[in-house]
Symmetry: C2
Subunit: 125 residues, 2 copies
DNA sequence: CAAACATATGAGCATTTATTCACATGTTCG
DNA sequence: CGAACATGTGAATAAATGCTCATATGTTTG
């Protein structure tokens, strides 16, 4: 029952020998963006893919806020918030400026708003 | 050195007793979307937050494709692709229609394109 | 109906990830 | 300078995630 199943590895011999599909696969394959762009894109969306970080971003839609106020707002540890802010900063979604003892975080650019807006449109459909 | 640090829990007493910040926190808090929307939004972006799924979506930008061609295109197991398609379907990013023995997947709507485009803009900046 | 094909799915495993805890770094002010 | 405050960070841990393997479901065809 699994003698010639080895042929199925990676689907290379699948879909019979329909040349049509093989052509199609090659065509689509040629149109795919370079690997590193796909990777960066996935990393970007990963940054949006967590409730805590989404909440941070929504907060920053309304005002520039320091870490400790964010912690209070989200009912979370200052440490937890700080860790997440680091990820958001790495994804270039937020920046921080020092104001005395505090560091005030703010949205890096308008892409953040746009992307979240489009996402919101989709879930509210 | 950590006697009165208990006050710091959840940052409730942080930032001294600056009423300004407490007010700000309350104002921003009132403007936050409901919890379930924040959750759904994070779930949506989670669906975009994986290289395999991003690659599937880019492939579907170019053509409607069956599972086994996707597997070949991505050099991945049919099973792995199928698992990811399930997640994409749950996020309502793709749909599948049956055509004979095969199931052809296609993009659910134009939000998918828009969201990825905006993401691409951000990483190419 | 039985065999072949295309896809879906559950369990297991390795990796990633979000939070906590303890502590380091950096700033202000007496 | 030293104490107090605000934030950053490394290690540890529990939970989530992506893939594989085996197998189930569903479709066509002889």
């Amino acid at each position: 029952m699994k003698n010639e199943k080895t042929v199925m590895l990676h689907g290379i011999e699948c879909c019979e020998e329909q040349e049509i599909h093989t052509d199609k696969v090659r065509q689509v394959s040629d149109l795919m963006p370079p690997e590193d762009q796909l990777y960066d894109l996935a990393e970007l969306f990963k940054a949006f893919g967590d409730t805590t970080r989404i909440r941070i971003l929504f907060a920053l839609f309304e005002a520039d806020i320091c870490v400790c106020d964010l912690a209070e707002l989200l009912h979370m540890t200052q440490s937890a918030v700080s860790h997440q802010l680091r990820l958001l900063k790495q994804a270039r979604l937020v920046n921080g400026r020092r104001e005395g003892k505090q560091i005030i975080y703010y949205l890096a650019d308008d892409h953040v708003r746009t992307i979240i807006e489009k996402g919101m449109e989709h879930i509210l459909e």
